[in-house]
Symmetry: C2
């Protein structure tokens, strides 16, 4: 019953009008092929793939799940064929280097594809998503021979890739990793250990799977300083680049999970498997951090995807389902009852989904622009600045958008009443699938610590200051102008936003001072601080969207209703969602004592 | 992997110390058997049943689900045996009239059993829970012959019962019901129609199932004024009370659901089935309202159950799972890492679960006391007042506790990180099972309208005034006392609580005035208003619990740590949860325009 159509009108609004990506592309010679015609074509063709092939497999994939039989994993019916069409269409290497067979388009264009396929079928999209993670690692840190050996087949999608980090005893705390890498006499390493929660760790979509594995050398320093990164192919590669003998890599089992059941989550056992060191020994964690930003933005996207899909299903239901009469008077007297979209609380749930989907999309593309700039930056200082900026936004995007994506999916389910609980409609699946997003790639708690601990306190608020300045400049530009009509229309956004941004800086400073005296202030405030930061960031997006929409409305375009809806949704956001910062600013500033002083033995008296 | 032990220490604290139920029972001759010895025995015996029989079936019941074969429903393995032991132990008729074979104990004692069996295994508990709904209907509105025919077997649990309200086209809007009841020449009615979402509608636990069915007579007025209530047994009853021929009642299918999979949710078809009118014709909806309070408090309980079970599983995990070091310095140097309970954000998630479980339990027992009083009230005026009081609290309890129960279950899952997403631990099941609770028995949106529309506006705030007065008296008694030490300890609760209660009344009045001009104010504010009311109600509970705990601490009892933990949790509640009223008071007072002015066609531009 789930169907998906890419929200191309909204994507184009964000892409072209709000962030003016074409002027942005013109700045970089490498992006000369990223023309409006090409992007329009990509949007419409990717939408076709999603509508006709991926969305129809969303519910059937969940129902069937993955099959495990003696180490062999079979994906649900139709997954393999859809994957073939996806790689044949060249979708996989869209924004990867031409020299390895990619199309060399900007990463921001890759995000269009990622949103579309992720919304149509997140579990299916995970297979290629993980491969992108492995590719990015090799591009950043592999040597030339490794790149030549693996990247062409990974870029075409003929081979898949994984990231093997987690072990049974550790996920976040990777210093506890026990997988060992012992140098052998062939110049490579014998890798032994067991990894769990390996997404796309084993499946039938590709000829080979290239595992990127965290392991420790025999003489490695303790903890995270002793982690190295290895390439471990499932099947070894012959001299001529073809696939050879099986490596000592096996899939022990796949997990039974709450959702994303069509995505195989594997236990992968390495029993003296041949592995190849990436970069220098003991620098594995450092290498991981450099690509973590992109991986986490990919996960942030799941929030937008869950929200968008839930909205696309709950909105038509709200227009069709007839129940009760509008409390302010019958709206459809010819029907047995009014459609539930007349009821204020149902509208609140729909608008929440709309505000999160569209606001979240804007956040992702805003970050996508920085990713492009970072890719093309030549100057080291400029690069470092952009990296800081992206690193500051990343935990906000990852945790805030996945938390709100889950909320939005739940709102969509709630619109259906009891019917939302039944498998038929697909809403309950979206909620189950979305639930993983606040857990993997670093939980919300971990993102909070990354933001407040690393990106604010360690950096002494450098990135925040820049971002706050940008928002305040936007606010100033829209309130210090001569056009009184525009000013009036924008004030309702500009005032609360600029006030919150000023407070954001003050609260950050106060937290920094408090944390000097009591380190627990960081963990006590972090998640609320992150969510507070998220609502402001999304508020900035909605203010920018409202500003652009108001400009267009003044021009009275043909599709004026689209722009009016944007302004209405911005108003909804600022009146109904943005005030959440009131509670958050109280709780994040509250004394950590209320969390810390209960003795461990006093949590329960069973 | 899930195990459950009833939190008897906490139950006794609420039951005996906070609400002093034994003094309460002494006021009523009917409750003379409700002695401390008996209640202690009930708690410990019911705990045994839950620990040894029901909790072990929690995960297996979900995994196996119910089986449907040609109209026959089979419950998961072990359900039937556990049900036999439950009815043989006399648990079912605990607080039902002695004249029909019950034990005649107060309903508040029945709530102890309901919480225990519901936490151990909610899906299993639904079968007997629905029977209680049918029994209450017959007790309130059945004639003597109907009572004699059905109640003894329902009270013993030999027969089951259901409530057949919902049809495919309507759940909330029961005026749309199409099921017909045509008088026949035997003085009964031929019932025809199809009902959906019938919990416990068909199963193998009992010899017979007594359906209470909403249907319309041929000459019935339109809408909800034309609804009548009928008894429709699955198997007809012979003159001698034994079970006879099958009635024209069949189960068409059972639903595939997100959770509570061990609870059969049936489509029940009536094809000219013989039915018996309850009470007068066309008064069905009115009859339903009279027992809806108890049914909804039963559902509110699910919030406490989900929260308690999640907490019982996530707490030991947080003490065992080793990850990272405490940011304020290593706590367990002999271990490879500190257990995650040292981290402030993990503590926040645990304390959230604790505050919701214990605060919710107090709310339920607070209402239980009123239920007892209402049961025993002889004076009509007194009865009406108690009914108002309960009717005011009911939507708050139902919506607020189920929303928070779901939050708490999600917090428990989050404590586990990625492991929470795996079926093994049971957390993901608790989240799936809890998700139904904000939907059935009236969605959160419907409860919001009931509270603000019916219980505040229509009653001109009568019940709110009484409740607010009670809370303010409590606050006054705890701040105007000579014991300075006690006053100091209580101020942190009394001040924010009394301020919020005063605002609550003012906001209510302002909403009433606004609603006169614009009816959409009601639906626009209702859910936020309900949640606001919920946080205050739970705040009152925590203040009462802190007061009692502080009193006991002053006496330096043996188990002083229990009371200290109570005070700490109250502090956590007021510092971290209660401030949510700040946002809610803003959003509930905001103009309905932000919800209403978006045109229906402008919600999407796909």
């Amino acid at each position: 019953m789930t169907a998906y159509t890419a929200p191309i009108a909204d994507m184009k609004f964000v892409f072209e009008e709000v962030f003016d990506f074409y002027s942005h592309y013109e700045k970089f010679p490498a992006f000369e092929e990223a023309t409006p015609d090409l992007v329009d074509m990509i949007m419409s063709e990717c939408n076709k793939l999603c509508e006709s092939e991926l969305a129809p497999l969303y519910q059937s994939g969940d129902k069937e799940g993955c099959h495990f039989d003696n180490g062999v994993v079979t994906t649900p019916k139709g997954f393999k064929e859809a994957y073939q069409h996806y790689i044949e269409g060249g979708w996989h290497g869209l924004s990867h280097p031409v020299e390895y067979g990619g199309q060399g388009l900007p990463q921001s264009i890759g995000l269009i594809r990622t949103e579309m396929i992720g919304t149509a079928n997140w579990a299916w999209a995970m297979y290629s998503g993980l491969t992108l993670g492995a590719m990015n690692t090799l591009i950043e840190h592999g040597d030339e021979q490794q790149k030549q050996t693996y990247l062409p087949k990974l870029t075409s999608g003929e081979w898949g890739g994984t990231m093997c980090l987690t072990e049974a005893q550790c996920g976040t705390d990777l210093g506890q990793v026990r997988t060992k890498a012992v140098p052998n006499d062939q110049g490579s390493y014998d890798i032994s250990g067991s990894k769990i929660f390996i997404s796309a760790g084993e499946h039938d979509l590709t000829e080979n799977i290239i595992h990127i594995v965290l392991a420790k050398l025999p003489d490695a320093p303790k903890g995270t300083r002793g982690i190295s990164l290895f390439i471990v192919p499932k099947l070894s590669i012959n001299e001529d680049g073809s696939v050879g003998e099986p490596n000592q890599v096996s899939c022990g089992s796949i997990e039974e999970k709450m959702g994303i059941k069509a995505s195989a989550t594997a236990v992968i056992n390495f029993d003296g498997a041949k592995g190849f060191l990436i970069g220098e020994a003991n620098k594995g964690l450092e290498y991981m951090f450099t690509f973590m930003n992109t991986a986490r933005i990919g996960t942030a996207m799941q929030g937008v995807c869950s929200s968008e899909l839930a909205y696309q299903i709950s909105l038509p239901y709200a227009k069709e389902r007839l129940s009760m009469r509008s409390i302010s008077g019958t709206k459809y007297p010819d029907k047995v009852a009014d459609p539930i979209i007349v009821h204020p609380d149902v509208r609140k749930m729909l608008l929440t989904q709309k505000a999160i989907s569209e606001g979240g999309r804007a956040m992702i593309f805003y970050a996508g622009k920085i990713v492009d700039q970072l890719d093309q930056a030549k100057d080291e200082k400029e690069k470092a600045k952009l990296d800081d900026q992206l690193g500051f936004l990343t935990p906000i995007l990852k945790a805030f958008l996945t938390e709100l994506g889950l909320e939005s999916a739940n709102s969509g389910l709630q619109v259906f009443g009891g019917h939302g609980y039944i498998k038929e409609w697909g809403l309950e699946q979206i909620v189950r699938d979305a639930r993983i997003s606040t857990l993997y790639e670093g939980t919300t708690g971990i993102q909070g610590l990354d933001l407040l601990g690393r990106k604010i306190l360690l950096q002494r608020g450098r990135s925040l200051k820049l971002f706050a300045k940008e928002i305040l400049t936007f606010c100033k530009n829209n309130s210090m102008i001569s056009d009184n009509e525009h000013k009036r229309r924008m004030n309702k956004f500009i005032w609360p936003l600029s006030k919150a941004v000023v407070n954001w800086q003050q609260y950050s400073l106060r937290l920094a001072l408090k944390a000097r005296k009591n380190r627990d202030v960081v963990g006590s405030a972090s998640v609320d601080y992150l969510m507070y930061s998220g609502y402001i960031t999304m508020g900035y997006m909605w203010a920018m969207m409202a500003q652009k929409a108001n400009e267009r409305i003044a021009e009275k375009p043909e599709n004026i209703e689209f722009y009016k809806a944007k302004v209405r949704t911005a108003e909804f956001y600022f009146e109904r969602i943005f005030p959440r910062i009131k509670t958050l600013s109280t709780t994040m500033m509250s004394n950590p004592k209320s969390l810390m002083r209960l003795e461990e033995d006093s949590f329960s008296f069973l």
